[in-house]
C-alpha cells in the first residue's frame, strides 16, 4: 500500500472519534521550535458533515487485538489494515502544520500486542515530534485502557490533552459489547490523569522548571444509540465525570453502524437527499438526540444546571421536540417571567434564548438605562424564545398567552424533527 492509501485507511479508523478540539491551553511560539497553541481553539476546516477539523486525526495502526462490537477497527471487522512509522506520522504532521492545514495532532492507536506496548509506540512518536522535529503545537493523545501508570505519566508530559474513551454508558453494556475492556481498566487511568494534573499544578507553584502534565485536561467520548441506556443515565454520568474526574469535555457520538453485526442495531439503508440538503433521514432522530445531549452538556457546564433538574418526574429521555432549557422552563413556569432590569446574571442565564453573551450584555447595558424590548432587540438579543419568559419594566411582550401549552406549541421546533416524525396532538398532551 502506498502512503496515501495507508493514510486513508488509518483515517477511516480514527474518524468516528468525534473530539477534534484544540482548546484549553495558551502557548506562545518559541524560537528554534515551530508552533503555538491558542486557548480558544482554532478550526482549520470543516468536513461535509459540518464538524470542525483542527487536528490531524489518525492512528499509528489499526491491527487491533480487541473485538469491541461498536468499533470499526475490531479484530473481526473486514477492513484493510495498515500502519505508519513514528517518523512518518511526525513528518506528515510537520508538513501539514507548516501549511496551516492543522492546529496539531490527534494520535490514537488500535491495541497491538498489549496496552503497554501500544502506549510505548505512542510515546515514541510524540517524543520524536517534540524532540527531533521541535514541534510546539497542540497534541491530543488517546491513552490506552489498562496501561501502566508510568507510561501514562510519560505520555502526559508530551501531550496537551489526553482522553480515555468510556464509549458505553454502563458496565453491563461494556461486558456485553467490549469483552476485552473492563470498567476499572478505563476508570483507573482517568484517575491517574486527574491526580497527575492536580499534583502537577502543586509542583508548578513550588518549582520553576516543572514539565507540564496534560495542560489542556482530559476528555472522553460516549456512544449514543448503540445500547439501551436512556439520556438521564448519560447526563448523570457526564455530570459525575465533570465533578469527580474534572474532565474538560465529554463528547457524544451517535452510533453509526460499521460492518455487519448481530449484537447491535443494523444500519438503515442510506438515502441521502442531495436535493433538499437534509441530513440522512434514517439517522435524523439519532443525530437530533446527540444534539440534545450536547445542549444538556452545555447546561451542565456553563449554565449552572444539574442533571437532577433536567430529569425531574421520572423522565428518562430529553425531548426531541424542544431543547432542554425550554423544556425545563416550561416545567418550572412559576419561576418566570424574569424582569431583565433586575434579575441577577445566573437567573438571566436560565431564560431560554439568553446565553452567556446576551446575559453579559444585558447586565452591562442596564447600568446606565432601563431596558425595554426595543433596546434588547437593538443590542442583538434574540427574542424568539426569550420573549415568552421575560418582562421589561414589569411589562411582558405583546400578545403572549402565559400558559405552558400555548408557549410550548409556539416554541416547538417542527423543523428540527421535520420529516422524521410528524407531531400529533397526543404528543403535545403527553409531553
Amino acid at each position: 500500500m502506498d502512503f496515501q492509501e495507508r493514510l486513508k485507511t488509518l483515517t477511516e479508523g480514527a474518524k468516528y472519534d468525534v473530539a477534534c478540539t484544540s482548546s484549553g491551553v495558551n502557548r506562545k511560539g518559541k524560537r528554534g521550535m515551530i508552533g503555538s497553541a491558542d486557548a480558544c481553539g482554532i478550526c482549520h476546516s470543516f468536513t461535509a458533515d459540518g464538524r470542525c477539523i483542527s487536528l490531524l486525526k489518525t492512528l499509528i495502526n489499526n491491527y487491533c487485538e480487541y473485538d469491541c462490537q461498536y468499533c470499526v477497527n475490531r479484530r473481526s471487522s473486514d477492513i484493510p489494515r495498515a500502519s505508519m512509522q513514528p517518523h512518518e506520522v511526525a513528518d506528515l504532521t510537520m508538513q501539514f502544520y507548516r501549511r496551516n492545514y492543522i492546529e496539531g495532532l490527534f494520535l490514537s492507536s488500535a491495541v497491538i500486542k498489549n496496552p503497554d506496548y501500544t502506549m510505548e509506540m505512542l510515546i515514541k512518536t510524540l517524543s520524536l515530534l517534540r524532540g527531533e522535529y521541535r514541534f510546539n503545537g497542540y497534541i491530543h493523545v488517546k491513552a490506552i485502557p489498562g496501561s501502566d501508570e508510568k507510561l501514562i505519566q510519560k505520555l502526559g508530559q508530551l501531550a496537551d490533552r489526553m482522553s480515555i474513551n468510556i464509549e458505553l454508558p454502563s458496565e453491563r453494556s461494556l461486558t456485553h459489547l467490549a469483552p476485552d475492556k473492563s470498567k476499572p481498566a478505563i476508570i483507573t487511568p482517568m484517575n491517574y490523569v486527574k491526580n497527575g494534573i492536580i499534583q502537577n499544578k502543586e509542583e508548578m507553584k513550588k518549582f520553576k522548571n516543572t514539565v507540564d502534565f496534560v495542560p489542556a485536561g482530559q476528555s472522553t467520548q460516549l456512544i449514543v444509540g448503540a445500547t439501551p441506556e436512556a439520556d438521564s443515565r448519560i447526563v448523570h454520568l457526564a455530570q459525575g465525570l465533570y465533578k469527580n474526574y474534572k474532565l474538560r469535555r465529554v463528547f457524544y457520538s451517535a452510533y453509526i453502524p460499521v460492518g455487519n453485526d448481530t449484537l447491535l442495531p443494523a444500519a438503515p439503508i442510506p438515502t441521502f437527499d442531495t436535493g433538499t440538503g437534509l441530513i440522512h433521514k434514517e439517522y435524523g432522530p439519532l443525530l437530533l438526540r446527540e444534539h440534545r445531549l450536547y445542549q444538556a452538556d452545555f447546561l451542565l457546564r456553563f449554565y449552572g444546571f444539574t442533571a437532577g433538574e433536567m430529569f425531574k418526574n421520572e423522565e428518562e429521555n430529553l425531548s426531541l421536540h424542544i431543547d432542554p432549557k425550554c423544556h425545563w422552563a416550561l416545567r418550572n413556569l412559576e419561576k418566570f417571567p424574569v424582569e431583565v432590569n433586575t434579575a441577577d446574571y445566573m437567573t438571566l442565564l436560565r431564560v431560554p434564548g439568553i446565553g452567556q453573551i446576551s446575559a453579559e450584555r444585558i447586565v452591562k447595558a442596564r447600568r446606565v438605562s432601563k431596558l425595554n424590548f426595543d433596546n434588547l432587540k437593538k443590542m442583538g438579543i434574540v427574542l424568539k424564545r426569550a420573549r415568552y419568559f421575560i418582562t421589561c419594566n414589569g411589562k411582558m411582550a405583546e400578545k403572549i398567552n402565559f400558559q405552558p401549552e400555548s408557549i410550548e406549541l409556539r416554541l416547538t421546533d417542527n423543523n428540527a424533527v421535520g420529516p422524521y416524525s410528524q407531531m400529533t396532538l397526543s404528543d403535545v398532551a403527553s409531553a
Partner: protein
C-alpha cells in the same frame, strides 16, 4: 438596524466647539493618522462634516477640506489617553474596529472615543447610542474574520522555500494575521497576500513588513513536492467526512463559501 451609512449625514458629538468650522477632514488612512484626527478634533475643536482617507477622497466644490498631518507623538498621546482614561479593552476594540472595511467607521469610532473620554470604561454600557453598537459590530466582524482566517489560511511552499498564502478577506485583517503567524511559524519565511486590498505581509524569519502588490502579479512557482503534500491533505479531508452525517447547511454556516476559493481542499479534486 438602519444606520446612516453616509458619513456626511452623521454629526459628530463634540463638546469643545472652540472653532466652529465645518470641513471635510482628510488623513493618510493609517491608524496613527486617525489618532491624529482624534487629537485635532478633540483638543482643537474642529467639527468635521466627514472624515475620509486621502486615497478614498471624493472632493466637492462646495466644501472646505483640511488634511491632518500624521504625527507619531500625537498619535501616541491619544493612544495612551484611551488606555488611561477609558480602558485597555476599549483601546483594542478601537484598533479592531478601525480595520473594518466600511465607509462610516471613522465617524462612529470618533464618537465612541469622545464618549469614552467622558464616561470612561462605562462607554460600553451606553448601548442606546447607535455608534456604540456600530463600533461593537465592526470590532466583532473584524475579530471574527481574523480568527477564522487564522485557521483557513492555506500556505503552499514555493520553489524558493517560502510559504505563500492568498486570501480575499472583507476587512483589513492582514496586521492581525501577521501577529499570529509570526509567533506560530516563527522560523519559516512566509507571505500572506490579501488579493482584495492588494496588500501583502512578508515575513523573513525575524520581522514582517507590509507591501503593496499590483493586482496583476503572477502567482508564485511551487516547490516540487507541494503537489504530493496537497494530495495527501485532500485525501485526508475527503476521508474524514461521515456519509451518514452529511449536512451541507451546517457546512456552509461553519465554513462560508467565500473562504473556500483559497482553500486547497475545496479547489482541488482528486
Amino acid at each position: 438596524m438602519s444606520q446612516a451609512h453616509d458619513t456626511k449625514s452623521t454629526s459628530v458629538q463634540t463638546e469643545r466647539k472652540l472653532v466652529k468650522r465645518e470641513v471635510d477632514i482628510l488623513f493618510d488612512g493609517t491608524f496613527e493618522g486617525f489618532l491624529c484626527v482624534v487629537y485635532a478634533l478633540y483638543y482643537e475643536g474642529i467639527v468635521p462634516l466627514s472624515i475620509q482617507a486621502i486615497d478614498e477622497y471624493q472632493p466637492s466644490i462646495t466644501q472646505e477640506e483640511q488634511f491632518i498631518i500624521t504625527d507619531n507623538d500625537r498619535a501616541h498621546k491619544v493612544e495612551k489617553a484611551i488606555v488611561k482614561k477609558i480602558s485597555h479593552d476599549i483601546a483594542r476594540r478601537v484598533a479592531y474596529a478601525f480595520l473594518a472595511d466600511t465607509t462610516d467607521r471613522y465617524v462612529n469610532i470618533l464618537n465612541y472615543i469622545i464618549l469614552g473620554f467622558k464616561v470612561g470604561h462605562m462607554v460600553d454600557s451606553h448601548m442606546q447610542h447607535d455608534f456604540v453598537l456600530r463600533v461593537h459590530k465592526f470590532a466583532r466582524e473584524v475579530g471574527r474574520e481574523a480568527h477564522k482566517l487564522t485557521g483557513f489560511c492555506r500556505f503552499a511552499e514555493t520553489a524558493q522555500g517560502i510559504y505563500y498564502c492568498a486570501i480575499t478577506p472583507v476587512h483589513h485583517v492582514l496586521s492581525i494575521l501577521a501577529e499570529h503567524f509570526s509567533d506560530r511559524m516563527i522560523d519559516q519565511s512566509w507571505i500572506i497576500h490579501d488579493k482584495r486590498h492588494n496588500k501583502a505581509v512578508v515575513y523573513n524569519g525575524y520581522d514582517y513588513t507590509f507591501v503593496e502588490v499590483s493586482p496583476d502579479s503572477e502567482p508564485p512557482v511551487l516547490a516540487g513536492n507541494e503537489e504530493f503534500i496537497q494530495n495527501l491533505w485532500v485525501t485526508y479531508f475527503n476521508t474524514l467526512a461521515i456519509e451518514a452525517r452529511k449536512n451541507p447547511k451546517l457546512h456552509r454556516q461553519m465554513l462560508p463559501i467565500r473562504y473556500r476559493g483559497n482553500m486547497v481542499e475545496f479547489s482541488k479534486h482528486i
